[in-house]
Amino acid sequence: MGPPLPDLQEPPPPGTSSQTRRPLLCDVIKPAPHRDVTVRVVPPPRFLPRLLHPLPSSGDIAMRRDRGPKTALGGAGEVEPGGMAASPMGRPRRLQRYLQSGEFDQFRDFPIFESNFVQFCPHIYPAPTSDLWPQVTRLGEVANEVTMGVAASSPALELPDLLLLAGPAKENGHLQLFGLFPLKFVQLFVHDKSRCQLEVKLNTSRTFYLQLRAPLETRDREFGQWVRLLYRLRFLSASAVPFTQE
């Protein structure tokens, strides 16, 4: 059995009820203050990773699939026709751009919500078990840059169904896709809200931890979007399956 579900409460969207309307992906990433979501955060590990300095980032919270010029938008998460939310700067982020470049033809038009993270290991004895996987380094040290995105394999889906992980290639630092995982085999948790840290648990017993890498001024908002997404994935996904170890 998996860990107990976090205690989450969320008011229904204005003018709707959960009985009459299922949320769309745009609702998931609509920016909202953290006060809308109450999260019982997993207790911090005994040894905390060192806090990371904010790293340069465009601050562009993209979730778009069209590539044309855009009109001015009100902000991240503004709903557009098609049920997707746009980035404030109207351009896709790195992973989306990479996929749009065409090397991965099947993923070219996937709507993606993505952020940059650094992987860290909160445990005393990190034990990487896959060499194809981004490696963790020593306790508390900044490990690998990871770009994590959730994607919908069809625009018709109300919720994303895939998790994409990418990172810099060893040889040239260019973004490289590491893996694609059906979200029904993945669980996402808030590991430490104050540090904007997520726990990603695959149903193969592989678990890793990611800390959001975003400018200070947008970090809370961006993490809030992940929290809302986690909530939707955990409690509103019709295809959710019980989390069991095989």
């Binding site: 194809l132 590491f178 694609l180 995982f181 059906p182 695959l202 017993s205 095989e246």
Partner: protein, 216 residues
């Protein structure tokens, strides 16, 4: 880095036959004895040189476990090459080849080049499937066949590169439409057809190797 072509490969076969280890050996030249179960798809890439052309191999390492199969087979589409892997020490992984082959043929291009791989050839003392059986299966189904060891790296390079050579040969023969992305082939950035298609002077670099090193 620029390339003339990108070939999409899939690696398929039962769980535990060594698909991820083959990929790791090919991309990183390392062997990892303990490996987590793959869920979904994990990716690897490497440049190789075939007949003087830089070719990027984009490799999709798929989950072998039955519970993931309905998902992973949706990613067979658009593959130019497939490595169909069994474990020479486990007869059942050989017995399941027909099912994997049917899946692959049903969900991908009819021109896809399939390399049958009997992996774990270093475990000769535990061999449960004779080399001749692998050869016969490959002959019967029109596959290329090799025995490999991801642990010792024996024939791993050859398996990936010979598949690429066969795909390239099909391109030269006009059997693959390189403009049809469903065939799993992309022309590299800034490459024109006139420069990327057709026989060229036979030049090889250190990564372009002979068809059979004979180590297994």
């Amino acid at each position: 880095m620029t390339y003339a072509y990108l070939f999409k490969y899939i690696i398929i076969g039962d769980t535990g036959v060594g698909k991820s280890c083959l990929l790791l050996q090919f991309t990183d030249k390392r062997f990892q004895p303990v490996h987590d179960l793959t869920i979904g798809v994990e990716f690897g890439a490497r440049m190789v040189n075939i007949d003087g052309k830089q070719i990027k191999l984009q490799i999709w390492d798929t989950a072998g476990q039955e519970s993931f199969r309905s998902i992973t087979r949706s990613y067979y589409r658009g593959a130019a090459g497939a490595l169909l892997v069994y474990d020479i020490t486990r007869r059942e992984t050989f017995n399941h080849l027909t099912s994997w082959l049917e899946d692959a043929r049903q969900h991908s291009s009819s021109n896809m080049v399939i390399m049958l791989i009997g992996n774990k050839s270093d475990l000769e003392s535990r061999r449960d499937v004779k080399r001749e059986e692998g050869e016969a299966f490959a002959r019967e189904h029109g596959l290329i066949f090799m025995e490999t060891s991801a642990k010792t790296a024996c024939n791993v390079e050859e398996a990936f590169i010979n598949t690429a050579k066969e795909i390239y040969r099909k391109i030269q023969q006009g059997l693959f439409d390189v403009h049809n992305e469903a065939n799993g082939i992309k022309i590299g950035p800034q490459q024109s057809i006139s420069t990327s298609v057709g026989p060229s002077a036979s030049q090889r670099n250190s990564r372009d190797i002979g068809s059979n090193s004979g180590c297994c």
